[in-house]
Symmetry: C2
Subunit: 454 residues, 2 copies
């Protein structure tokens, strides 16, 4: 016999919108992170904003936790329903609501993924550039302030959001911005709700900036004797003012893994991957200047992708990196995600490599060095608890060193479950202000409870 609130949910949004099917519950109990799964009591799949508001009003009345769920590609447990309740699945809210090429903007529902979005707009000479690797949902990317390989050029989701439609805990629907490209009106709720991981309200609509598709792209790669040399070389490029579109560090261990996983033949050395984008002549010049700078800095194997096939291969390989580590049979992978001021990057990367080697575990270091953001992927045997402990310890060491360096405990994955314990250390007295906003907007604590703040 279902509890009364589930019956009410079914009455309100229909039997096709609510399920307690075991497989569905299991699927919504986890994401791509290492955190143990927790099943929701039900999965609710609203069709529109009104249904989300209805669900939230019912949840408020009964004090039932609501955890939003997009593509399940999150890396720190943001979508895991720690206190059961309702998993709010956005699969049925995956449409483009308003596409305005002439405004260079688009309004979408949260369930659409970034690849599905791009597929529908690319033929208009426009693209949405934020690229976290996974084909994440735009709602999830907004909720975690995702970014990825193009952040050095386009920033993170927060830089792309013009307006959000948000349903508050009490069912009120607000808009946080407008369709204008900039504004000095009111307080900046766009930025506050972006990255709030469903703890302040549920995002039901997202208006995004779009960008002209660059006329010409050049990808290139080169190698250096050490990760530190890679980080220092990346720093030279940034200081030079060459407007790179991507600049990625991939250490030799990561190259080895991805070569094996995807049957690539990249030189198995510490590497930088580059992309330049713009007009043909401009991009040619940028790539040549970068080549000169990198050769002066002592790089080997400078190689430009010969055509679009080779270019795609570089970025496919880069995106498969995480999978290359996480899909080793019988093993699990634990990732980290710190971001530091650029001048501290080389030190942090060296520290990460030292920690991994000291642990005896297999692991790679790679990341978005143009932002000072990098990841480790550490492989452990789930049957050996001390290996997981070691991996967690490395994660913690990196976070603490990042905070000491004036950086942040998460550059793009979000706080979720794993970074909650560092919030006060990172934000100090500001954490109390943040928590007071949470209490103001969600007094009953039904919105994704257990995330960001307790």
């Amino acid at each position: 016999m279902d509890p009364q609130w589930i019956n009410e949910l079914i009455e309100e949004i229909g039997t096709d919108g609510v399920t307690i099917n075991e497989t569905a519950l299991l699927q919504h109990s986890q994401d791509e992170s290492h955190h143990p799964g927790v099943s929701p009591d039900v999965v609710a799949s609203p069709k529109n904003t009104e249904q989300v508001a209805t669900i939230l009003r019912t949840a408020s009345r009964y004090g039932i936790p609501v955890t939003p769920y997009g593509a399940g590609s999150g890396l720190d447990g943001g979508a895991i329903p720690l206190h059961n309740g309702i998993s709010l699945d956005f699969t049925r809210m995956d449409r483009i609501l308003h596409f305005s090429p002439e405004d260079m903007s688009v309004t979408v529902q949260p369930g659409i993924t970034r690849l599905a979005l791009n597929k529908q707009i690319n033929s208009h000479g426009l693209h949405f550039p934020i690229d976290p690797g996974a084909d994440a949902s735009i709602g999830g990317m907004t909720a975690t302030n995702a970014s990825g390989t193009t952040a050095v050029r386009y920033g993170s989701m927060r830089d792309q959001v013009l307006d959000l439609e948000v349903v508050l805990a009490d069912g009120r629907v607000i808009h946080t911005g407008s369709r204008a490209k900039k504004s000095s009106s009111g307080y900046h709720l766009n930025g506050l709700f972006t990255g709030s991981e469903g703890t302040l309200g549920i995002i039901t609509g997202i208006t995004l900036k779009l960008h002209g598709t660059p006329e010409h792209l050049i990808a290139a790669r080169c190698t250096f004797p050490s990760p530190k040399a890679c980080a220092e070389a990346a720093h030279l490029i940034l200081m030079s003012g060459i407007p790179v579109q991507r600049i990625e560090l991939v250490d030799s261990e990561s190259i080895r893994q991805v070569n094996a996983y995807g049957q690539y033949a990249f030189p198995e050395e510490h590497s930088l991957f580059f992309e330049f984008a713009g007009t043909k002549g401009g991009v040619e010049e940028e790539a040549s200047l970068a080549e000169e700078l990198m050769k002066d800095a002592g790089c080997s194997h400078w190689e430009r992708a010969a055509g679009s096939k080779e270019r795609s291969e570089i970025w496919r390989a880069r995106h498969e990196l995480s999978y290359a580590f996480s899909h080793i049979p019988g093993k699990k992978m634990l990732g980290s995600d710190v971001c530091v001021p650029l001048s501290h990057l080389a030190d942090l990367v060296v520290h990460a490599r030292t920690l991994i080697e000291g642990s005896g575990l297999l692991g790679g270091v790679f990341g978005h060095v143009g932002d000072g953001n990098f990841h480790t992927s550490i492989v452990y045997d789930p049957k050996k608890p001390h290996e997981r402990e070691k991996a967690l310890h490395i994660n913690e060491e990196l976070v603490l060193k990042a905070l000491q360096s004036g950086g942040t405990c998460t550059g793009e994955h979000g706080v979720g479950i794993g970074k909650k314990k560092y919030q006060v250390q990172e934000h100090g007295e500001a954490a109390a202000v943040m928590a007071s906003f949470k209490h103001l907007l969600d007094p009953e604590g039904i919105l994704n409870p257990g995330k960001i703040f307790d």
Copy 2:
């Protein structure tokens, strides 16, 4: 006899930090806007963050309003102390606290102006690009989320702020961000306090992103038969993906005024001003592509600035526009500042011209067309109240039409006094959320009372 709270202030921060001198009070009663001045009871000039905290604690205890004051260059009354009290002047907090060229960031006190900042960092190959025209203080620019001619490339202040030090109403000091270039940790207080005009807390430190100085710059200008044709041509450039650094609309009336004011000889027609920035070859190519595109669109007088002298002249003239209108002897000037989705820009500009011509007043239309943000400068005789009424009416008509178009009542000047009445209309239910944040952080209402929300 001074009231007790003034004596306490003097005790706390010294006689040199507190004045009731009539001239100082008068100077702090106004900004560059058309709003009538209101004098503070005292001007307090703290030397450091601790003194700001002391002042706020005293103000809280006695319920005295505190209105921050930077360079006095605001355009909508943000720094006018509507309820007297303390004008918090940042002249003595104008230092660079930490300059880190290798991190491409700088931490400054709020009183430093943007030109003073650039003067100290330019020799390191770095610059701070946000350029609202006036030599505003960085604190004021942050408080209003200022932007200006380079927003099409660099966004607004909010896009440049890495961290703020903020003193809350009760004297607590918080940091809203970190020195990392991006973060997904906590809630985004950076963006919330940027643009909050001193109503949520007093900004005492600002950490900003810096950018490599472009190797090469090209400025150019051309004319079109109508402001509408200018706006449409600007739209073509944006859609083409040519990465302009500035793209400005200046109508013929504005050109006439600035020619007269600054003894320039620009063709007195509706114009677009351009700047391209990057590597030499890239910029050459961009400028040539833009020229081709503009000629296809029917422009006349395409002219590249021959050298750096001519280039500076274009931007000096653009910056003097507002002064050209506001310094007509015996007259006053009233400016507007709306921002709309790009596709609505041409219509709004035409509407603005029609309203000005219908009013019989002298006025110009110009603005940052790459962002959909434009201004009108309307000249009126302060001795003729019906002229000021007409100017106010035009301002109101433009705001209402901008809101109908999905835009905002202020693109960059801030809410201040003049845009307060549009907050509910623009933000709807979200205005209630914003007001609840204000009440939470400033329960006594001592922080810049009468601004943004009552």
